[in-house]
Every structure is written in C-alpha cells, then in structure tokens.
C-alpha cells in the first residue's frame, strides 16, 4: 500500500504540471484584463500599451507561463517603453512558493485566497454535513421501504428541489423568509451578508445569516445523493451475504448498517471524494445571491476580470485537493472492500 501511495503521488507531479499548462492557456481566452478593468469605459490606448508592458502581458503566452511557474527575477523587463529591458523582475514563481500578485488589486494571491477560504469552508462544510445526514436518512429509509407511500412522497419532494435551479430556490426563499416574513411581522431571516453592521460579527449573527445559504446549498443536493444511496443500498440488500445474515437471524439494524451500508458505501465514497475538493471552490451562485464573502464569488469576480494569477491560484489549489481526495478514495475502496487490491 505504501508503494502504491508513493507511486500515485509521483504520478501527480506530471499531472499537475500538465493541468497548470492547460489551465494557463485556457485562461488566456477569458477576455482582455485591461479592456475595461471593471469600469464602464474602454481603456485609453496609451494606457493599454503601458499596462501591457508593465504587467508583462505583451510577452508570448509561453513566456508568461514560464514567469508564472519559475518567476521572473532572472529576467529584465522594459517598464518605460524605450525598447530596452532594464528593470529586473521581482517574482519568484509558483515553484518557489510565489503565486504572484492579483492583477485587480495587487495583493499577493495567497492573501487574496486566505481572506475568503475560512468563510467558504464554514458554509460549505455545514451544507455538506446537512446533505450527508439527510441523504443517508432518506436514502436508507426509502431503500428499506421501497415503493411505500413514504418512499414516493419523499422522492417527489427531493426531486422538486432538485429540479429547481439554485438561483431560483435562493431568491424564492429570500423573498419568503426575509422580505415577506418581515412585512407580515413574523420572525424573519436576514437577506444578505454575514452579519448586521450594528450588531457586529458575532457567532450568533453569522449562524443566523447562514440559515438561508445553507438551506439553498443542501436542498438540491440531497436529492442526488439520496438517489445514489438508495440505489446502492437496494443493491447491497439483494446480495447473498445479506441474505445469509438474514438467514442467520442477525438483528435488522446490524444487517442494514454494518453489512449492507458498508458495501453500499463504495459508490457513495466515490461521489463524496469527488465533491469534497470542490467545496474549496465555494458556491458561485449561492454566495453571489446571499452576498456571502466566499471563494465562489472570488473566483467569478477574478475570472471576469481576467485575473490570471488569482484564478490560477484557486484552480491549482483545487487541483491538488482533487488529487489528494482521489487517492484517499482509492485507499478507502480497498478498506471497504478487501477484495480490491492495488498492485
């Protein structure tokens, strides 16, 4: 197993390298970062030329990638536009731990990401926990009571939520619980943000502001997850060893939770392992609608400004997380199903 893990980690190096190259090239198609710079007017041509030169955007893409990867402190740049490169670069490159500066606000990329990551994790992990708890409950129950009225009703409801696009669900709940409840004099939830400016950022305020975004994030996903769980459970319950266990007269909970669920866990683990790393990326739509200061909004804001360093930083962080979680998933497979061997 140790050899397997080691081999996988070694394989990850060229993989990450290729991914970074592909992403960097894709990023060049996201629009011109200095076309409007987020403003309402087109940038003056003299300023466009100067900024391209100063930011190194006039260099060929492959050179820009090299600077991103290995830094530019060994090269010289022409900042004053006289055609002579005389100013040495200052960046050290990703390989030496320098993810560069944001083109939008000139902050170090690591700082930009770190400012948002805790907010996103708080929201996303709470939501993921809700999803798993409810999906397991619903999935297992409707597998055990297949075709019962409860199974049909709960399936219909989860799919109603599933079929509702996130943005729609978010705004409808906001209108009902925040706008109209307030209008009707009922206890109401806040619309946007993490806390009220007058109350300050207390844990209670943050929790209160998390209710609607968490619900928005969880409801749609419960349907999908509970489907997988139901299907995997039904399959496991039909296996020979479950019948054996039944025949042996083992108590039902033990059959369901130990024998069946452990075997049903394989596809579930796959899905969770695929989803977890993307929690780091945050929820673009939910964060946007509820004004939650997380990674999803950060990503979208900086993608729309063509901010290559920040976008690359976020994407590479997710890439590393995916590689790690895939490895964990594969190790879990072997643990859950001893018949699986990696050679």
């Amino acid at each position: 197993m140790t050899r397997y893990i080691l081999r996988r980690l070694l394989q990850a190096i060229p993989l990450l390298f290729v991914i970074s190259l592909v992403l960097f090239f894709l990023m060049q198609n996201m629009g011109d970062p200095i076309a409007t710079m987020g403003g309402r007017n087109v940038t003056r041509s003299a300023d466009r030329e100067r900024l391209k030169r100063q930011l190194g955007l006039d260099k060929p893409i492959i050179v820009q990638y090299l600077y991103w990867l290995a830094g530019n402190d060994w090269a010289k740049a022409d900042l004053d536009g006289d055609g002579i490169a005389e100013t040495p670069g200052t960046r050290r490159g990703v390989l030496r731990g320098d993810f560069g500066l944001s083109l939008v606000n000139k902050k170090p990329v690591t700082q930009v990401i770190w400012e948002r990551l805790p907010n996103t994790l708080l929201l996303m992990l709470t939501a993921e926990a809700m999803i798993l708890i409810f999906a397991l409950l619903i999935g297992i129950y409707s597998a055990l009571k297949q075709y019962s009225t409860f199974d049909n009703i709960i399936t219909t409801i989860t799919f109603l939520f599933y079929s509702m696009p996130v943005f729609f669900f978010a705004l409808v709940t906001m209108y009902i619980f925040a706008v109209n409840f307030k209008k009707w004099g009922l206890p109401y939830l806040p619309t946007v943000g993490m806390f009220e400016p007058t109350a300050g950022k207390t844990p209670l305020q943050v929790a209160w502001h998390m209710v609607l975004p968490t619900a928005t994030l969880s409801f749609g996903f419960i349907a999908g997850y509970s489907r997988y769980i139901r299907s995997a459970m039904l399959e496991a319950m039909g296996q020979d060893y479950v019948r054996t266990a039944k025949a042996k007269g083992l108590p039902k909970p033990e059959i369901v939770y130990i024998h069946a669920l452990k075997n049903a866990a394989l596809p579930i683990v796959t899905i969770i392992a695929l989803d977890l790393p993307f929690l780091l990326g945050g929820a673009i739509v939910t964060e946007r609608i509820f004004g939650w200061p997380g990674m999803g909004r950060l990503f979208l804001d900086h993608v729309s400004r063509g901010d290559t360093p920040v976008v690359m930083g976020i994407l590479m962080m997710i890439a590393v997380a995916v590689v790690i979680f895939q490895l964990i998933a594969d190790i879990l497979y072997a643990w859950l199903d001893p018949r699986i061997r990696y050679t």
Partner: protein, 577 residues
Amino acid sequence: MVIRQSTRLFLFVLVVVSMILAGCAQPATPAATQAPAATEAPAVTEAPSVTEAPAATEAPAERKVATFIWTQEFDTLNPYYTNMWFSSVTQQLYNCWAWDFDEANKPQPRLVTELPSVDNGGLSADGKVITMKLRDDIVWSDGTPITSEDFVFTYQMIMADRNTVASRNPYDLMEKVEGLDARTVVITFKEPYAPWVANLWRGLLPAHVLKPIFDQEGTIDTAEWNKAPTVGCGPFVFDQWESGSFTRFVANEKYWLGRPKLDEIFFRFVPDDASQIAALKAGDGDLGTFFAYSDLPELEAAGIKIINSFSGYNEGIYFNMHAEKGHPALKDVKVRQAIALAFDRQKLVDDLLLGRTKVAATDWDNTPYNDPSISPWPYDPEKAKALLDEAGWVDSNGDGVRDKDGVELVLKYGTTTREIRQDTQAVAQQQLAEVGIKLDLQSFDPDIFFASYAENGASANFSLDLIEYSDSPNFPDPDTSAWLCAEIPSDENPTGVNTSGLCDEELDALFKLQATQVDYNERVQTFNKITKMIFENVYWLGLWQDPDLFGVSSRLANVKISGVTPFFNIMEWDLAQ
C-alpha cells in the same frame, strides 16, 4: 453504524475546525487594519485615532450608520489604480478631489480657494499653465497639513515607471508639476488642454505616508494604503475592509468643511442585482444603485426614492463604417437613415424603460455641447422603405430580405450580455424585419466585447455591423477620441478605440480643434458642429439616455447626487427623524 458514526464525527470535526478558522479571521482583521495606522501615522496623531475606535464601538445604539449596497466590490481604494465605477464614486468619502461637482455637474472648490480661470490668473492666456491656490485649512485625517508637496508627489507616482496606475490621463500630457510654495501648485501642459476641469486631480496621495514606501520599494503598487487608506482627506475615514463582505468608513473629525452628520457608512457587497433589490425592500440597505428599469416601480412601492443622475452615458449604436470591412450597405447614408427611421425607439423607451428616460439624439445629450436644434429621428417605416428603395436595396428574390448586387441586407448586431441590451436587440430585429432588413443577433461577455483589436475584441475587430454600447470617458467634459482617424484599430494600431472605423477628415479636424479650445464658448460652437454632423450622417444612432439610478431609503435625508461625483455632499447626509 460504524460508517455513519465515523462520517459524522469527521464532518463534525471539519465544521468545528472551519468555525475556529472563521472565528480566528474575525479578531485578526481589525488588528490587521489597526497595525498600519499605528506604523504609518506619525506618533503625534496615533493617540486620537486609537481612542476614537473603542469609543465608537462602545455605544452602538446612538451611532448614525447608513448602509450602502454595492453590487461590485472595490478593487483598490487607491484612486489612481482603479477604473471601476463603484470604486471611483466612493472616493468622495475618504479621499478628495481638487474640486467636486455638484448636482448640476458644476465644479465646487474643495482643496483650492477658487477654480483657476483666466480672470483670476489661474489659467494662462495660452491655456497651457494652470496655477492652483490651495486652502490654508486642509489637512489629512491624521492632522498633517495637505500641501503642494502632496500634489507633486501624486504626479510623480502616476508617472513612475514601476507604478501600474490605471490611467495617466491627462498627466502624460503635462510638461511638469511644481510647488511654488506650500500653498501654490503650478501645472504646465505641453499643448493647451481643454478638458482639464473634468480630469485634473481626481484624488490625492498622502506623500508623508507613501513616499517612504516608494523610496524603499520603488513602487507603491503593493502599499498597504491602497487597501487600507487609514490616512485620507474626505469627510469620512477608512476603518475596515473585509474582502467580499463589507467596508466601513467612519466620520473624519478633522474634516475642514465640518464633521459629517452620519457617524459611519457601511458598504455591503451584494453582487446579485435581484438580491440587492430584495435587501433594499427588506430595509437591509439605505442606498443602492444600478437598477434595471423594470425594478423601479417595486422599489418605489417599498418607499425607496429613485434619483436619476445623468452622467453622460447615452446608449447608442455605432455603425461599422470601416473603409474595407463590414457590410457595404452601411456606407450609404440613406441606409443608415432608414435604420434610424425604421426603429421605433420612443416605443422602446416607453415600454422597456417604462418611459423613465428619453430617446437619445446625440452622444452629448443633457450637456451644453449639443446643438439645441437636434431632436431624435422619428419613427417612419414608410419613409425608411422609400429610402432603401432609393438606395437600390430591394427584395429581388422574394425571401423577405432586401438585397443589392447579390448581397443580402443581413446585418450583424452585437452588444454585451446586459439584459436590457439583449431585449433591445430582439425588438430591433423584429422592427427592422418589417422594412426588409434582417438582423443577426450576437451578445458577448463585456471583456470579450471590449477587448482590443489585438485581442480580437468584438467591438474592435469590425466583425460586427451594428455595435451597441455607451461610453462617457471624460464626463462632464465632452472630449472623446472615439471618432479620430488615428484611433482606428488596425495591425499597426492594435489598441485603437474608434469602434466605427470611420475616418471623416472634417469631423477629425473638428475633434482635434475642440480639445485645444480652452475658451468655453468657442468650444461649444465647435461641438455644435460635431453633433450636427454625426446626427445628420447617422454615424451614431441614439437609443436612450442612460442615467445612473440611485435608490435611497426614506431613512436618509439631505441626499443630493451628482453625475460626476455622486456623493459630493455626503457630509450633509443625515438619518431622517
């Protein structure tokens, strides 16, 4: 049971960890913003700024706090590093321009005793030298006096090679900026520069804070002050900015025009316009902006006052007039006139914009530079058909689309993905089809649309025939380089901004002339000619005047909005009793 428990435990631990992380970030942020204040501010003034903050938070109930909802977060708070509208308009809170503009867009002296003019000797007869007299009582929020040194330093920073400022306009047209004495600043332009009132000193950098950083680092790109301008010169002072969440400004006790009536202005960033509306309706914000017209009746029903503030934007269609590219039909003035006559823009404004604005006649509507005799092209489809027939565009093959010499009258009409623009496209497609012109609709993400010729931007590569957007680069000044022959994008000039590709020698000469006409009346005369030329030749077809829409809750009193510097009287704003 095993799996469920371990999964639950794992998730519980994760949630706890992230809660702790989020909790850690909370006390860390104030500490981070206080630290620079302590290190950057001179020792003398450190004491008051430190005592102010706790006193402010101790009695939250009495504080007058106004909450603004912004759909975009500031990129930077350094006034020279941003092009973003949301950042620029906020500068009136914590930074200062040499002069602001009032609700009639007239300049009001702020840092200077009076606006330089030929009469008071501030403007030389040839229009090249501007002498500014500074007020005696102006101070930075830490108590340091504002002097000519700050102006010279600001100029140096804008022109420094290692500073990636957003724009050098108009500083790269200057020969020099000098401080004659602490209260006198002299600016010398290389050529007479007419638009100086609108473009000079839109913000000031504190030399005593930033100069040491520049001397040490060689650039102020990464200065802490850009994110946390704790030393400012506006009626409010920066207090705290949490990325993605909020920015807080508190009253500047040392503001020379009097302490503001509000204690705090809290900006909340809500990127989604529909949730912005919901938050305003729920009373979770006192001011919002950039609404769709269709939202206005609802907002008003919720007791929110809408202020239309004209800031020079007129939505319109540029025709592809490039000598070699684009559809041949558009080179004929009759075809362009026919398009103007066939598109019922008054009905568009009445229905889609709820009649809350007007059809734009020229790109200079609502400014004194317009020829007052111009009114928009009327809706007259019969005359449009006659003009097209006259120009030789007839439907010879019976497919419903006019053609001439084997070329069908199919025009590519592109704009950005903004909803009202896409709706306008759909309406235009239908109305022009009635006179036999087919429109092929395209819409783009703004960064793709406005990308330069070099980046193959849709508005610059002449692949479209009709190009819709609005631009107001120097408001309240009428200057623009969008019609200059030298600005036509090409391989040699990949960053040109002449969207239409038109090179009309006469128009080009008039535009060059007006930029040097320092005399107001002469310049108005020139512009009257320009507007008439563009209108009669239909080089540009106005759709609607596009004012900025501000929604103000009934909690706020004394609100006035200017088109250039919306918050010019923010110190007088107050909570209604």
